[in-house]
């Protein structure tokens, strides 16, 4: 079986969309990882976040569908009102179970699932937000060998989420927006 591509999962809530809009245009066609984006938003959001994000990058952006296979150079956006899980074979599962931290999709759910599927071939980045989602997930990512990074709360529109992660999880790097862009752009397979 072909092994999974190395994966970057980005989680964010209030104030994180602006960061993504700055980050995505910096990625080149040959960016070698697969990316999953989990953003909190209203359950019935009509506008597709994936459509909005795809205007900012040359990489392929799609709303994650169940059984999609993670491919390098592709960006998968967790759909509104579903949790997104990663199977051991690199396919995606949607899950309509209970909200976690009042959120579906929940960042913790995807971080933890990614950690179990990808182990040390995983980078997780937590952005601005006003919720404690993501902190527990980052700790498990760390325990299972993945790399953890958090937006510098000083640069975050809502600092609670990154602060919460820094105080409860083992965070490998705290990055301002410029550093974050460099970090993601330079990730290697």
């Amino acid at each position: 079986m072909k092994s999974l591509p190395t994966l970057l999962v980005i989680g964010g809530s209030a104030g994180s969309l602006e960061v993504l809009m700055q980050l995505l245009p910096e990625l080149k066609m040959d960016w070698p990882l697969a990316m999953i984006i989990v953003l909190h938003r209203k359950a019935d959001s009509e506008t597709l976040l994936s459509d909005l994000l795809s205007t900012k990058t040359c990489l392929c952006v799609k709303e994650a569908e169940e059984k999609d296979i993670l491919l390098a150079g592709c960006i998968y956006v967790a759909p509104a009102d579903y949790h997104l899980l990663i199977e051991p074979d690199g396919s995606l599962t949607l899950d309509a179970s209970e909200k976690v931290h009042y959120s579906r999709p929940s960042i913790d759910v995807t971080f933890i699932s990614a950690a179990e599927a990808c182990g040390d071939r995983l980078y997780c980045l937590l952005l601005s937000g006003a919720n404690m989602d993501g902190a527990e997930g980052l700790q498990i990512v760390h325990e299972l060998g993945g790399f953890t990074a958090v937006q510098d709360p000083e640069t975050a529109e809502a600092s609670f989420m990154p602060k919460c992660a820094i105080s409860t999880a083992k965070v490998d790097k705290v990055l301002n927006i410029r550093e974050m862009i460099d970090f993601v752009r330079d990730l290697k397979e």
């Binding site: 169940e66 009102d81 199977e87 051991p88 599962t93 899950d95 179990e116 700790q139």
Partner: protein
């Protein structure tokens, strides 16, 4: 943070799934692994087992605990008129066609605690079809069916349900369908009498009737491709010619082996019609 260290390994999950199959006949081996593992992990931590061995021992020796475990493994999150657009299409496109039949038979598969089955009964009532309809609402868990049969739901959700109902094109006062009592809303017997709640396991049980409409929403997402195909064939075999199949917002017939047998009726709302034998 000690909980994090108590992580179920993939091998542990496979052992448990094997126990459930061998000992109790519940086959979760074709379920989405990541989802089942997550559910088991949650129970394992919530019920504070000191080790996996003790968790496994409890599952194997305590049938009472099994009931609890089954409830926890399967997802029982549901609401009335969830995805109002779907119920609007049902009202607009599907039920007027079913109205031409002398007896309307509907199968609601994976009904959980019954909120959607009651929603469908309300639509039928409003189209003056309920008297000649039967809704067979089935689930793998007897315990959630118990709740469903009572038709009693927490009063605190009624505001949300009422809003969903209005968005789905409902024109009545939603509160006329239930009697409020302290924290509970008890739905009217007129609705309940037309719903038969029964245990049915989509993985192992067969077709039990022919229907004009099968509703199965947010169930297939937890199955692997093979099991999805198998269940879709079960649905196809259980539908009359020109019967309707309704799936969840993120589920599709695309790339499945039954796709050629169906024609989309409402693509966005995931309703298909059986066109060939």
């Amino acid at each position: 943070m000690k909980d994090h260290l108590r992580h179920l390994k993939d091998e542990d999950v496979l052992l448990l799934l094997n126990d459930l199959l061998e000992q109790y006949g519940y086959d979760f081996t074709d379920y989405s692994f990541a989802s089942v593992k997550r559910r088991l992990q949650r129970v394992y931590i919530a019920d504070r087992f000191p080790s996996f061995a003790e968790f496994r021992y409890r599952v194997k020796t305590d049938p009472g605990y099994l009931v609890h475990l089954m409830e926890q493994i399967t997802v029982n999150v549901t609401e009335m008129f969830r995805d109002p657009g779907f119920f609007q299409e049902l009202r607009r496109q599907v039920l007027p066609i079913l109205a031409t039949y002398p007896l309307i038979r509907i199968w609601h598969a994976g009904c959980s605690s019954g909120e959607e089955a009651y929603s469908v009964a309300i639509l039928l009532h409003e189209l003056n079809l309920l008297h000649k309809s039967i809704i067979y609402a089935t689930d793998i868990n007897e315990s959630v069916l118990e709740t469903a049969r009572k038709g009693i739901f927490p009063l605190q959700y009624m505001q949300q349900y009422s809003q969903n109902y209005l968005l789905s094109g409902g024109k009545e006062e939603f509160s006329r369908y239930y009697a409020a009592n302290y924290e509970h809303a008890k739905f009217s017997d007129t609705l309940r009498e037309k719903i038969i709640f029964a245990v049915h396991n989509l993985v192992t049980d067969r077709s039990f009737n022919e229907f004009q409409l099968i509703i199965c929403r947010n169930v297939l997402i937890y199955f692997n491709k093979d099991l999805q195909d198998k269940v879709l064939h079960l649905f196809s075999d259980s539908l009359e010619q020109l019967g309707f199949l309704a799936l969840g917002a993120k589920e599709t017939l695309r790339f499945t082996t039954v796709a050629p047998l169906f024609k989309p009726v409402a693509q966005k709302e995931k309703i298909w019609r059986k066109m060939t034998q």
